[in-house]
């Protein structure tokens, strides 16, 4: 069981309010990702749930009981930190055993759980080593192992992959997702990387300046962003946002079209432009198009073999059914 409910939670540091009143429910077993640009309050929110920071007002319920004034040690939550935060003076085995030792679990059971966790996380050969002798990925696994063995009501991850290199990050992303499928425990995961959010989450919470901009499944957010901020934040490369006369044609203050929802031709189309940089990823090519008369540069994604060279004239046609419209307040219209 691991339902977490935030009611009118606020947090201020001195006179600065970083989280204005906020309501959020995280259902039992859900993989929830808090995502937003740095400084948006996502880590603070996680630390409030963990109990590492005191909330300024409101209350937090965990499993239906008020946990607002419960110290972190007693909330039954496990946390994986960005820096791993392993105990440098203890072996891997002792690191993993620590929460069980604190909980007074008998040694046989401790060893059983350590062996099981080590096996699941490929750490069996490293149990007697110190954290200092491990690679970044292995350290991260130890941190996860330490969180698993105490069988928490929920796991909290604070940007756990940002210290790993790109290849390792993709692997660990998958491992954490698989872990969630296997354990079916509530997980809250904080990241600034919208790719991590999209690939892992059941539910994404997009935050900006301490305010929840939208809550929904990855595809909800992708297909129906509630406002311009979410539209620009979710999806890679970013959605093209166009203002002015072109938007007014569609009866909106701003229109948005994703790079993958724009047809490209070298001969004719709705918008004419000039090819800037073409980024070839192999499977896809991202072309940055300038001088379209639409304001900013437009990015498009093409999958076929279009031989567009720098300076070529290119024609773009947005798929009108995939067009997003926003009103003057930046909110989704229609």
């Amino acid at each position: 069981m691991g339902q977490i409910k935030l009611n009118q939670v606020t947090k201020s540091f001195g006179d600065v309010e970083v989280i204005p009143p906020l309501d959020l429910t995280i259902e039992d077993g859900e993989f929830t990702v808090f995502v937003g640009p740095s400084g948006c309050g996502k880590s603070t929110l996680l630390r409030l749930i963990a109990g590492l920071e005191d909330i300024s007002s409101g209350h937090i319920d965990i499993n239906g009981s008020d946990a607002t004034n419960v110290p972190p040690a007693k909330r039954g939550l496990a946390m994986v930190f960005q820096s791993y935060a392993l105990y440098p003076h203890m072996s891997v085995r002792k690191n993993i055993a620590f929460p069980m030792r604190m909980a007074g679990i008998d040694e046989a059971e401790q060893n059983r759980r350590i062996e099981a966790a080590a096996k699941a996380l490929n750490l069996t050969d490293y149990l007697e080593r110190r954290p200092g002798q491990l690679s970044g990925g292995q350290r991260q696994r130890v941190a996860i192992g330490r969180a698993i063995v105490r069988e928490p009501a929920a796991f909290l991850f604070d940007e756990p992959l940002s210290n790993l290199d790109a290849a390792l990050r993709v692997g660990m992303r998958l491992e954490i997702s698989e872990l969630h499928k296997r354990l079916e425990t509530t997980m809250i995961y904080v990241t600034h990387d919208q790719v991590e959010a999209m690939t892992m989450a059941d539910k994404i919470v997009v935050l900006r300046a301490g305010v929840i901009e939208q809550v929904g499944s990855p595809l909800d957010l992708y297909h129906a962003p509630r406002n311009e901020f979410v539209a620009g934040f979710i999806g890679s490369p970013k959605m093209n946002l166009i203002k002015g006369a072109e938007a007014e044609k569609h009866g909106a203050s701003t229109i948005g079209i994703r790079p993958e929802h724009t047809d490209v031709s070298m001969t004719d189309g709705m918008w004419k432009g000039r090819v800037g940089v073409a980024e070839h990823l192999g499977s896809d090519t991202f072309i940055h198009v300038h001088d379209t008369g639409l304001g900013d540069m437009i990015t498009v994604r093409i999958t076929g073999d279009i031989q567009a060279k720098h300076g070529d004239t290119i024609y773009l046609t947005p798929q009108l059914d995939k067009l997003h419209k926003f009103d003057a307040n930046g909110l989704r219209a229609g």
């Binding site: 963990a50 110290p71 105990y87 620590f98 929460p99």
Partner: protein, 276 residues
Amino acid sequence: MARAVTQKRKIINTVAAWGIGLLIFFPILWTILTSFKTEAQAISDPPIFLAFDWTLENYGVVLERSNYMRFLWNSVIIAGGSTILGIIIAVPAAWSMAFVPSRRTKDILLWMLSTKMLPAVGVLYPIYLIFIKLGILDSRIGLVIVLMLMNLPIIVWMLYTYFREIPGEILEAARMDGASLKNEILYVLTPMAIPGIASTLLLNFILAWNEAFWTLNLTAAKAAPLTAFIASYSSPEGLFFAKLSAASTMAIAPILILGWFSQKQLVSGLTFGAVK
């Protein structure tokens, strides 16, 4: 070419370092050498460096005239006691300043350090009077308290610097892992801070051992440590350099040996945070 220059630099640096090291050590070396001379050779002009009649006579006389063991024991108790008492008080203080700092923490630290800028003699009279009133003049307990207070700012500063190096996330991890404050301190913080605490202990033991102003002014006979033992060979008997040197050598020998065996710990402690 680059290599040749580096090599040359290295030699210059080494020579300079040894030169400075010897310069600093020379007075101690001279004291030790003098302690093995006769009184006449000790004040001879020009001074004799090594070619003198080596004798242990001075040590015999010093040991015969004064109870070395009693002074030594007083030094051990005063230096050890003040250091341990200081650590017991400073650990929680440094702890709270490092991990739950307030807006005034920096000011408090500086204010504490500023007490070290006061010339000790400025408070000699009031402290002397207090000691008389409390009846702790010429007592070990009185010196333990005074030396502890003298060194407390340094102990707190050193521990504070150490604790600051311990990442807060590790302590938070312990909290999340269900550790109570006591367990967090016992199983996570203390083991991680042991090198720092050890260096602090060592340095303060040495400072307290060498402290002369308070030990000389607040003791007479009962609680007098080795500093008083040295002093007893200077003024009252005139210029007995060889015996004075013998007494000095005996006074500094224990701390010199302690320092020698713990030099690695001391150096790492004093340069902590400077080198990564």
